[in-house]
């Protein structure tokens, strides 16, 4: 198993410390790690186990239960296509199919260049503007299939500039 770098160890330890006064801190620790570290691989889980005294088996059980926690790193842009009912009846399946075709990945996968992760979301509560796509928290309203190539192009350009 790969060893964590020192900076990562410090970061994870700090997150665990942050919640040490909470009765049952595991969910909060994992949420913060997911948000700040980006993903929760096994070596991170082992460290959390050491810090909190919760067994790795239990931590692994929780990490794999919730769809927000990820064992692998996500892309720079996480493209979340809403497949809630309101979006679905307005053609969201065609939108995600188009992303899938153009990015060459299936929902849950990340492109080889690490730029895009495609996710199928279960209702983000933006039903008024269906079909909605959420990319890194920015919500694109009433997305049409023809818009998809342009969205991808814009993001690629943005990434190239950065």
């Amino acid at each position: 198993m790969a060893k964590l770098q020192e900076a990562a160890v410090a970061q994870i330890t700090e997150i665990c410390q942050r919640h040490k006064n909470d009765k049952t801190p595991l969910m909060m620790i994992l949420s913060d790690i997911q948000n700040e570290y980006g993903y929760i691989p096994l070596e991170v889980q082992e460290l959390v186990s050491k810090e909190t005294g919760i067994s790795v088996a239990e931590i692994y059980g929780v990490v794999t239960f919730y769809s927000f926690f990820s064992l692998t790193p996500k892309g720079k842009y996480v493209v979340g296509c809403c497949l809630g009912t309101a979006c679905y009846v307005k053609g969201a399946q065609n939108v995600i199919d188009k992303f899938q075709e153009l990015l060459g990945i299936k929902p849950g996968e990340t492109t080889e260049d690490g730029l895009f992760t495609l996710d199928a979301l279960r209702c983000i509560g933006a039903c008024g503007i269906a079909p909605a796509v959420s990319i890194n928290g920015r919500v694109y309203p009433k997305v049409k299939v023809d818009q998809v190539p342009e969205i991808i192009k814009e993001l690629k350009e943005e990434a190239a500039k950065a």
């Binding site: 929780v62 009912t85 679905y88 009846v89 933006a126 503007i129 919500v139």
Partner: protein, 627 residues
């Protein structure tokens, strides 16, 4: 600091006057408010607000007008909205480019910008005020009180709107009196269960314990419902106050908000509201000078639908996998960390301050015999006025879809309304005059659920919709009990088979048998109701299932294996645009030239076609159709 009832009274008097002055213009200022709900934010409401601020400064009138973002207006399909007080002018679908004109013409010139007004689709007349729009006329706001009016990040506006008047009155009553008041109001759980809220509190009051908890269920997982999100985003203090009243009523001093991680804006505003309430002393020790102490915290979900089930939610707060616990013991007896706990939905708690402030009778004065008050619906799908609406219980489905919703777009035909999400069912045309309440919709084979209402038209395939919900349930089943874990998988396989044209009539019997088994043997509501969408589509749209199985046709032309794209040779002028855009290169020129045309028509090779539909959107001559 507001440490006594007197402090609150003084602040309320001053702040309600200033809120009133703002709305009526007695302060001599103009006030611009923008919708800050998720839909409008995605349509650049914040950038529009910044542009207003910039322009007011540029024109030197920043002292004459204020600019603020408020909660959701509810009318999402027409957003983003800009409203100007005191005239109460409402502008719809405002773009950044429009700001200059609004400032120049309206704020400086005092003239209304006609082209940004809402046009009544029936009379074609322009409407200037929100209350005159048909969409709002039949609505009555109790749970959504304050949403779209007050700035959700400013406790002063909430206090001016009457926040904390409910808890103030509750604290003068005994615990039993508060519960009796809530019982008398007839309030039932808005999350879908419909259990009388007062009775739940009574159970928890009757248990002796050193610690009790209130939990607010903000894990709004039903796809298509977003009322809890809008309430938390639009008036978070209303929900906090509801939680405080619950805490007082059965003796809890701690509360937990469990909110979906998918709702970052709601979480942010809730955090701000809690901090502001703490700073004012309205949360913490000895609230309003009494011996009642209460504080609350936020816990985030992590994307598991089953956590909307109350016992799974409690496990999730405890840092475990969100799997349901067997009941009894009910949470009111043994809940969070084994202590008596009441789990109430966001909308339920948002109704509570109103009941205490205005009295149970006023709350119960609207609604039907067994369902009192109002209900918020998230109206979505194939309906003109998509948005959030709050109507008295007993409103008919027809009023909801046609009067408030403005009917079906593009002249299409209504097919069904799906309520209750993955636990609910569909109702057809013949049920449109049924009044909506908890019991009546259940009696008709659907349910009100948490209030998602998705309208479907002739272009929606009901077998595909049933498959969609089953996919959802299959994905979200926690796996704890076998009937749900394996049964839903088998049902999904059958539904997939049918939509691919490989189904048999025996499949329908098997669907029914599986659905009974799953219903009877699952531990929690997710499993017990998992087959509802299949049952109700089978009951109302059996002919569509049979068309898929026997005729190998999808009447709505949705199921890709059972439909084809065809070019009408008589209509095709042979321009070839479709062939250029075809990703599968399956469109070629024929030798047939239709009378009156110069070029030979195009044709699709059905074997190669991937059914992406690209050709249909490029054809300007309506020559391509689905068959």
């Amino acid at each position: 600091m507001i440490s006594t009832v007197n402090d609150l009274n003084e602040r309320f008097e001053a702040l309600s006057k200033s809120l009133d002055d703002k709305i009526k213009g007695a302060d001599g200022l103009r006030h611009i408010v923008l919708c800050g709900g998720t839909g409008c934010l995605s349509a650049h409401s914040t950038e529009i607000m910044e542009r207003f601020k910039e322009l007011l400064k540029e024109k030197g009138i920043e002292n004459k007008a204020t600019v603020n973002q408020v909660g959701c207006f509810g009318f999402c399909s027409q957003g983003p909205f800009v409203k100007i007080y005191p005239e109460d002018t409402l502008y719809k679908m405002v773009k950044i480019e429009d700001v200059d004109e609004i400032v120049e013409k309206d704020l400086i010139g005092g003239e209304i910008v006609d082209r940004l007004l809402y046009i009544d689709p029936k009379t074609s007349e322009k409407v200037t005020k929100q209350e005159d729009i048909l969409f709002y006329k039949k609505q009555r706001r109790v749970a959504l009180n304050g949403c779209g009016v007050i700035n959700p990040e400013d406790i002063n506006e909430a206090i001016g709107m009457g926040a904390f008047q409910g808890i103030k009155r509750a604290l003068t009553m005994s615990q039993q009196e508060v519960i009796d008041e809530v019982l008398a109001s007839g309030l039932r759980g808005r999350g879908g269960g419909g259990f009388p809220t007062g009775r739940k509190w009574q159970f928890a009051l009757n248990v002796e314990a050193d610690q009790k908890y209130v939990v607010c269920n903000g894990d709004e997982g039903d796809p298509g419902a977003f009322m809890d999100r809008s309430i938390l985003e639009g008036n978070p203090l209303g929900v906090i106050e509801g939680m405080m009243i619950a805490g007082y009523a059965f003796g809890a001093s701690e509360g937990y908000f469990y909110v979906r991680a998918e709702y970052p804006i709601a979480v942010k505003r809730l955090k701000i509201a809690i901090e502001q309430a703490r700073a004012e002393g309205l949360l913490g020790k000895n609230i309003l000078g009494t011996d009642f102490s209460f504080d609350c915290q936020i816990r985030l979900g992590a994307g598991a639908f089953v956590c909307g089930e109350e016992t799974a939610l409690l496990n999730s707060i405890e840092g475990k996998r969100g799997m349901p616990r067997p009941r009894p013991p009910f949470p009111a007896v043994k809940g969070l960390w084994g202590k008596p706990t009441c789990v109430n939905n966001v909308e339920t708690l948002a109704c509570v301050p109103y009941i205490l402030r205005e009295g149970a009778d006023k709350f119960a004065s609207v609604g039907t015999e067994k369902s009192k008050g109002t209900k918020v619906f998230a109206l979505g799908g194939k309906v003109n006025n998509v948005g959030l609406v709050e109507v008295p219980m007993g409103t008919t489905l027809r009023e909801l879809i046609y009067d408030i919703g403005g009917g079906i777009p593009d002249g299409k035909k209504f097919k069904a309304i799906q309520t209750g999400g993955p636990s609910g069912g569909c109702l057809t045309e013949e049920y449109l005059d049924e009044p909506i309440d908890f019991d009546n919709l259940v009696a008709k084979g659907s349910m009100m659920g948490s209030g998602g209402a998705i309208v479907m038209d002739e272009d929606n395939c009901m077998v595909d919709v049933a498959k969609f919900y089953m996919e959802f349930i299959c994905d979200e089943s926690c796996g704890k009990c076998t009937p749900c874990r394996i049964g839903t998988k088998r049902m999904l396989e059958i539904l997939t088979r049918i939509t691919e044209g490989k189904g048999t009539m025996k499949d329908l019997e098997e669907l029914e048998e599986l659905s009974q088994t799953i219903k009877a043997n699952s531990l929690c509501a997710l499993g017990q109701t998992a087959s509802n969408p299949v049952n109700s589509t089978l009951a109302h749209f059996r002919d569509e299932y049979i068309a898929h199985i026997v005729d190998k046709k999808c009447p709505a032309h949705v199921c890709k294996n059972l439909m084809q794209y065809k070019i009408d040779a008589e209509k095709c002028i042979g321009c070839g645009m479709c062939a250029k855009g075809c990703p599968a290169s399956c469109i070629t020129r024929t030798e047939y030239v239709a009378p009156g045309h110069k070029l030979a028509s195009m044709a699709i090779d059905a074997d190669k076609c991937v059914k992406c539909g690209a050709c249909i959107s490029t054809c300007k001559f309506n020559a391509i159709s689905k068959v």
